[in-house]
């Protein structure tokens, strides 16, 4: 570099020109990249921001006039409980999905690709079945005269059938099953990229396998855990079919209330305001989370 500046003492204008051209080319490239993303961007603006804006607008209209009535109505213990129940169930399912999904994803990440691939097919298989069918299948398995209770009674483990469905237990089991792939997929992708030389180095430095795992592997796997957890949590917030069918009326989630308002009473305003509040709480939670951790690292950026 020094050699170059030495050999071109009089050419002050040349690097300047070069820089300008480079900068212009850079800008052009950025623009072209942006142009490539334009269709997707347009789609998002039209299909996401449009409806959300419309939703927001509807929630502020009562009997054709501007009004906050839909929001005031929600300021009651019942609505508070519905929201709190929704978030509690979502959190519970997310926690269970981590507990069940992590060991599986870990195992898959350590196995040879071929076997891992086979296991991945097993994880993805339920995706090819309709959500409704899977939910009904759980009903058949979990009910009083269902397979699980029959088997447990038949083998003498229990005497009276367990209440596994038409309550919170059934809802959580059903939701966990549906959410598990959404936890395992990002987790597996992230675990597979962790360089195992780190583990060997840890062993070299005298760490026991358990110590090496907790101090080296586990922290590196956290972004994957967070990515899966966020995906599962957000999906849980909007789940409708499973709690409606497996909850036996004892579980009320916001999505069910939205459906009731929209389909039963044709009260779009009330339904919209519920959607807006749910969205707002979720955004605030994400913001808090992003303050605590660096959210972009979870999705492989940064």
């Amino acid at each position: 570099m020094t050699a170059q500046s030495d050999t071109a003492p009089a050419g002050n204008a040349v690097p300047d020109d070069n820089t300008r051209q480079l900068a212009a080319a850079g800008r052009g490239e950025t623009f072209r990249h942006f142009a490539l993303t334009f269709p997707a961007l347009l789609l998002i603006v039209v299909l996401v921001f449009g409806p959300v804006g419309w939703l927001f607008w509807l929630s502020l209209i009562e009997d054709g006039q501007f009004s906050l009535a839909h929001y005031q109505r929600m300021w009651t213990a019942a609505y508070f409980e519905i929201f709190s129940q929704t978030f509690r169930i979502s959190l519970l399912v997310t926690g269970l999905a981590i507990l069940v999904g992590y060991p599986l994803a870990y195992l898959m990440s350590q196995l040879p690709r071929r076997i891992a691939g086979l296991m991945m097919i097993c994880v993805l298989l339920p995706f090819w079945t309709s959500l409704l069918v899977r939910t009904y299948a759980w009903m058949v398995l979990l009910q009083r005269r269902g397979l699980i209770n029959d088997a447990l009674i038949g083998t003498g483990v229990i005497e009276r059938p367990l209440a596994l469905v038409n309550n919170l237990t059934g809802t959580v089991i059903g939701m966990l099953h549906i959410m598990l792939p959404f936890m395992i997929l990002p987790l597996f992708a992230s675990l597979r990229t962790i360089d195992l030389t780190y583990m060997r180095s840890a062993s070299n430095l005298g760490a026991s396998p358990i110590r090496a795992y907790w101090t080296v592997f586990f922290p590196l796997s956290l972004p994957g855990v967070f990515a899966g957890a966020i995906l599962v949590f957000v999906l849980c917030l909007g789940v409708y079919v499973t709690p409606a069918l497996l909850g036996g009326g004892k579980v009320v989630m916001v999505s069910m209330k939205i459906q009731q308002n929209a389909a039963l009473y044709f009260d779009w305003g009330a339904a919209s305001s519920l959607g807006v509040i749910l969205l707002a709480i979720t955004v605030v939670l994400f913001w808090l989370l992003s303050r605590l951790t660096r959210i972009e690292t979870m999705f492989g950026g940064g």
Binding site: R73, T76, A77, A78, Y79, E81, I82, Q85, Q143, R144, R145, A163, V165, N166, A244, L245, G248, G249, K250, V252, K257, Q260, Y265, F266, D267, A270
Partner: protein, 341 residues
């Protein structure tokens, strides 16, 4: 030739006075499916013959579409078929024409089954059903359903305030004609009592029969139309009419309907005993007009299963659309609070 003359006479007569058989047409809107087909066969065909008119049919999804038509001032429908609560809501919002009681006769209708702008055209029941093979002692009404000591068994209830508040009050001994206005605190207190013993709360008719068929519960309130489905599958099910509740479907004329006067005449025929008596042949709903059962047109086997047959009507309460129409949202929220407690 005859027809041309008749037309000429009718045309000239039309200049000075309205002809006896008004050449005209009406548009009737309902919910489609075999429900609307039954209405066509039982009600609309005989009305067309009687009035010498044609009735066009359309389908829709509820009172919000009527609201949209009326508010935009472009009303194309003459008669709309709605759920009882929607009729009451629509009336409160001023969406319907007032009915002319010189044209429409409500003789034979229950007092809860009509109001200023709408009349009921049919009933369906929410009755207590049970599996006789699963229970030692069969319940005879909702009072027994609430008596968990003497009537052991697994129970479900409907997850909605309308009909369930009434069932609770009937179970608590309130006479059926003194239900309204509902004693809400008493009703919710009574429900609070049974809540720990309820194994499931159903939301859809399909779910209610599923619960019984799978043996998930042994007794529950159910819509009368669903019982046949269970029986056809050979499932043991019995129902008790005592303390059941009757809900209505009703008709109204949207404000600004193009053929308001003709619609009024058609509605009068629709609720007349003779035409009402056709209904049980086509669908398992009950005629709204009690006099239909005196026409002799309804076969015995249909009377035995009809939700509004005289023997069944006298032991059931008619749900008041007027009461619920105004309070649905409010009571729905109180129901949620009760469920979440």
């Amino acid at each position: 030739m005859k027809r041309i003359v008749a037309t000429a006479i009718a045309a000239s007569a039309g200049l000075c006075a309205a002809p006896l058989h008004a050449e005209g047409s009406l548009t009737y809107v309902s919910w489609g499916g075999n429900y609307q087909q039954a209405e066509r066969d039982a009600f609309l065909d005989p009305i067309e013959d009687e009035l010498g008119i044609t009735i066009r049919e359309e389908t829709y999804t509820g009172v919000h579409e009527v609201r949209a038509q009326v508010l935009s001032g472009a009303v194309t429908w003459d008669i709309v078929d709605l759920g009882g609560f929607e009729c009451a809501q629509g009336q409160a919002e001023g969406l319907f024409e007032e009915l002319d009681w010189n044209v429409v006769s409500t003789e034979g209708l229950d007092d809860n089954a009509w109001s200023d702008t709408w009349v009921s055209i049919l009933y369906y029941s929410t009755v207590l059903a049970y599996n006789p093979e699963a229970l030692e002692k069969a319940p005879t009404n909702f009072t027994d359903f609430w008596d968990v000591e003497n009537f052991p068994g697994r129970r479900a209830l409907y997850n909605e305030a309308p009909t369930m508040l009434e069932a609770a009050l009937l179970a608590d001994g309130v006479p059926k004609d003194e239900l309204y206005p509902l004693d809400l605190d008493r009703a919710f207190a009574k429900l609070e009592e049974i809540k720990p013993h309820i194994d499931a709360w159903w939301d859809s008719g399909a779910q209610s029969i599923q619960l019984l068929a799978d043996g998930e519960v042994d007794m529950l309130p159910i819509w009368n139309g669903r019982i046949e489905v269970l029986r056809e599958e050979g499932f043991p099910v019995e129902i008790v009419w005592d303390q059941g509740t009757l809900s209505v479907s009703c008709v109204a004329i949207p404000k600004g309907a193009p053929n308001k006067d003709l619609a009024m005449k058609a509605i009068n025929l629709m609720i007349s005993p003779e035409i009402q008596a056709n209904l049980p042949q086509y669908i398992n709903y009950g005629p709204a007009n009690a006099l239909a059962f005196e026409t002799g047109k309804i076969p015995e086997d249909k009377i035995a299963t009809s939700p509004s047959a005289p023997d069944h009507l006298k032991v059931q309460a008619v749900i008041s659309p007027s009461y619920w129409g105004e309070r649905l949202t409010e009571l729905d929220e109180r129901w949620d609070a009760f469920m979440l407690k």
